[in-house]
Symmetry: C2
Subunit: 152 residues, 2 copies
Amino acid sequence: MIALDDTDRAILRALSADATVSAGAMGRQLGLSQPACWRRIKRLQDAGILAGRRLLIDPAALGFGVTVFLGIKLATKGRVSLEDFERAATAIPEVQVVQHVLGLFDYRLKVRARDIADFERVLRRRVMTLPGVGQVEANVVLSEERRPGPLG
Amino acid sequence: MIALDDTDRAILRALSADATVSAGAMGRQLGLSQPACWRRIKRLQDAGILAGRRLLIDPAALGFGVTVFLGIKLATKGRVSLEDFERAATAIPEVQVVQHVLGLFDYRLKVRARDIADFERVLRRRVMTLPGVGQVEANVVLSEERRPGPLG
DNA sequence: CTTGAAAAGAACTGCCT
DNA sequence: AGGCAGTTCTTTTCAAG
């Protein structure tokens, strides 16, 4: 773990919004030279804080308009059933994220579907037939607001 | 909306894993020339499918080891209270995502904290005091597996 | 769709304060 | 730590097949 100053945080904030900005352009905005800014970025990468640059894909532009979060309680909780469930859940193409969680539910799934009818198909034919699945609770996402910058 | 062929999907899959790969390097991998590959990327950008490139920050490297998803049921549901709740929830630094959802709960919050003690502080002093908050349910994330590529 | 080339710019390297 | 100057690479745009 490494200590970040205000300049590092400004760099992370800028790159979080748009990772395509060059080190030179960002340096000008922060009053730093291009190499100085570049060195800080490299330091953040080497420290593992900057873990990579990923694409932001708009699901709506691909025709996927519905996002649903499922809370799932397993009926049978053995060591084997956990792995079985995870493997089967990960194999469903519409399932974007599989989280093993502690609390009211055992697993949380993020599901992307084209529309509500498509979601119902995924729910009935794929999710409800997962090995060991018990109680299932669904939350359809209406709107989402996310904090762009780094934490803290 | 636009139709994607297998090559487009391969490009999205490669860029989803690592958005830093150059158009030339990807073209070689796919058997395409550099300009041809570059044109496809630009087409995906113009279509809005490729919405941007964002940073992947490792929260653990910054000392944030705990992720908790909160399901929140509002006690009072007027038009005003929804906006009040959203504004107040977004203002909490530890809250990364605020989702308005349909289902058992009204809102879902993604909360990042340094540890469980830090999370309890956020929960008691910030979340439980949000305007109109009713029932609160928490799920601590143990592990997470996400599908890298594009949907469908 | 391809190749090739040229111009712009970004990334990286030493050396200096 | 930061800045300056220079080299190497990619991106981006052209012309032409």
